[in-house]
Symmetry: C2
Subunit: 133 residues, 2 copies
């Protein structure tokens, strides 16, 4: 199993009970938005504040423990930072899935067709997940 205390410390974050639960939520769920995270946390900490959620999310982003995923026509979700990958979002239920694709040739093509020096490619597919089709 994961040792969340060490994982947090590796990202220069003190291991408080709230942060351990946040980390655990990300490991279990993969992608969560602020509201879902707050609801989940409330089950374990009945007096947790949204301020605590926001402070931790922001700190975790600064320390590259998690990152934001912006989704067309929906709220942002957050996920653990890992190697670059693309996302699939279900238009019906909002489910988000990761997919590692090689975008180097399309990035090279984009660089070739414009005057940009390209750093990153952010790709989000929308559609219907297996359950919603």
């Amino acid at each position: 199993m994961n040792n969340f205390t060490d994982i947090l410390r590796a990202h220069h974050l003190k291991a408080t009970p709230q942060r351990l639960e946040i980390a655990s939520t990300f490991y279990e769920r993969g992608h969560v938005n602020i509201e879902e995270l707050y609801e989940t946390m409330l089950k374990k900490f009945n007096s947790i504040s949204l301020a605590t959620i926001y402070k931790n999310i922001n700190l975790m982003i600064e320390n590259a423990f998690i990152q934001e995923v912006k989704i067309p026509n929906a709220k942002s979700v957050y996920e653990l930072t890992k190697e670059a990958h693309s996302h699939l979002v279900c238009d019906n239920c909002g489910h988000v899935e990761d997919l590692t694709l090689d975008l180097s040739s399309i990035s090279a093509l984009a660089a070739h067709e414009t005057d940009f020096k390209i750093n990153k490619a952010n790709l989000v597919f929308s559609g219907l997940c297996k359950n919603c089709q």
Copy 2:
């Protein structure tokens, strides 16, 4: 030249002076955020309200005259609705450029590797524009 009155009417929008100026701004600038649009509008309508900007932006989105472009680590910009295309965003100056790329094979690949039925692919490249390199 463009007849903005007719273009607006084609999208079921009455041609008010404010809307004509908004349309003209989009045609000239391509991509604008709310703040930039407000600043631009203020030059022509010294007592225009932000409420008017928001009401029109929302109405124009509903009527598919414009659409929102969500950008990682930056404010959304809006652009005229046109055929699907990708975006390049400069990390330094925020400049946004359009690029039409064929994403059908990568979409097919994504569909093949997952259980999603894919509808749209939203691709945003980040990097440095010609001026900022």
